[in-house]
Symmetry: C2
Subunit: 299 residues, 2 copies
């Protein structure tokens, strides 16, 4: 038993799957869930995701005092209020971590609110998810063979890092570290930009008067390319705004690359176009081959 008590704030796909994974691994004693709606918490309770639950509008912060780990897994926009609420209530040995997709903004909010308890906080980002949300979507294998990135601060306590690392490993994840700014730059490129591109493509198509004629002929390439456009609008709005600078830089770099591709097509430069396509195809195939061990399909 690594964690006697886990407090999960935000019992959705991410927080709920962590709880289920720890329970399956017999690595947690009690799981207490905190959330906005009673309906979702009841779902979590009935699915065995949490043992007890409290809504955010009832007194709940006292639950942090004897928790070994507090996991913040709400949308990132709620973190500042959660840090402020928790700052005076974290136990002496409580480690706190989060599952936010951006890190510099989360760290700034933590610095602002946590004061002397800042060393207890281990900024984290589990690289897993599906396009489904809520406690009903949680499943225990979500983190198997997935990466979890921690971006600790100079102040972060080694004990807190060790405890959070052990928690994610018990979920089946691989744990690595990155500097916060590097984290945000990397994920702007490989995750946030693709989401914006996919959302933009589908929204533009859907806004056409004859949209149905287009969608009717879309096939499996379109299906995969746009799968992430089915993701939560609120979550991705928060991510896009939280990582604004890095994302804007990626959008600008991408627009330049797309303009260059447009020029090759416009000028009929088949040789250079095939070369660019081949660079992409080779890199994509090499990446796919390098991914090991194979990642289970999303549910």
């Amino acid at each position: 038993m690594q964690i006697r008590k886990l407090l999960v704030v935000g019992v959705g796909l991410i927080g709920g799957s962590c709880a289920l994974a720890l329970k399956r691994a017999a690595a947690v004693g009690e799981v207490v869930g905190v959330g906005r709606t009673r309906t979702n918490l009841d779902t979590a309770r009935s699915r065995g995701v949490v043992d007890r639950s409290l809504t955010l509008d009832s007194p709940w912060t006292h639950e942090a005092a004897d928790a070994d780990v507090v996991l913040l897994a709400t949308p990132v926009a709620q973190f500042p209020a959660l840090f402020a609420a928790l700052a005076q209530h974290l136990g002496r040995d409580t480690a706190m971590t989060d599952a936010g997709s951006t890190k510099q903004d989360v760290i700034a909010a933590a610095r602002e609110a946590l004061g002397a308890r800042l060393p207890s906080f281990v900024p984290g980002h589990p690289i897993a998810g599906t396009e489904h949300a809520g406690a009903a979507a949680a499943f225990p294998s979500l983190y198997e063979n997935r990466n979890v990135i921690l971006t600790p601060l100079p102040e972060t306590s080694p004990q807190a890092i060790a405890r959070v690392t052990a928690m994610w490993k018990a979920c089946g994840a691989r744990v690595g570290t990155l500097a916060p700014d590097r984290h945000d730059a990397v994920f702007a490129a490989v995750s946030h930009l693709p989401h914006v591109l996919a959302f933009t493509l589908v929204a533009e198509l859907a806004a056409r008067p004859d949209a149905a004629a287009y969608f009717d002929h879309a096939a499996s390439g379109f299906r995969d390319f746009t799968r992430i456009a089915g993701s939560s609008p609120e979550m991705w709005r928060d991510i896009a705004l939280a990582n604004r600078e890095a994302l804007l830089a990626e959008i600008d770099g991408y627009c330049d690359a797309l303009a260059a591709a447009r020029t090759l097509i416009s000028e009929g430069d088949g040789e250079a176009l095939a070369e660019m396509f081949a660079q992409a195809s080779d890199a994509r195939r090499a990446w796919e081959a390098r991914r090991a061990p194979p990642v289970p399909e999303d549910k």
Copy 2:
């Protein structure tokens, strides 16, 4: 037995899977394959895709004289030469069709070369494929529940249309028709543009000095978004250039939409951004739900 003799020019994923599907349905007598390389034709022969085969640099056009159907399934760039080679050799009752992803350019080449035999040609586009190529990748269920679009001309003979329609239905496909210009506009939007966007994203990432650091953190969203960037560079160069005007119009429209999204992010307009994301997410989910019957996964 609907087709006594089928001549497949280009025995790859597309042509080979058609042959395998017809054989499985007992809807074809003999399949003769024609292709560039002996190696691929031998693979096709050993997998039972074709019964006989000839390379393009040997005499082969006489095989068209008694074929019920000639299927052109090479890269589109080879079609003008194939039309010229076949014009004098098509049998009186031979129907010819193609599997090109663009139609106006194919039709122009057919008009140029086929002369009095133009009515025998039924322009077609099976909407199916995977990122794999060659006779080794062919499988008989590729067309099950997939769409095949025919874009017949005013001159096209009803008998030829009926025969090609019956062939694709025997493969398990649904057959529909579109005007050629409409076809090219629709597929520029739902297929050719996404391919260019995915190729561009991966090529841009791969060209960075620290590309590995990005690819190492790419996860399942990236995997699906970029799957089509693993496609054949030569095939997609041909498609991009063949459908140049429609594709350029789509790229320009997309760049405008992306610039608008960039403005929302830059100005921190979370409300409008979430609204655009929600339009995309709703449309994507509605499209997914409408796709019926479920399409089998690509191999």
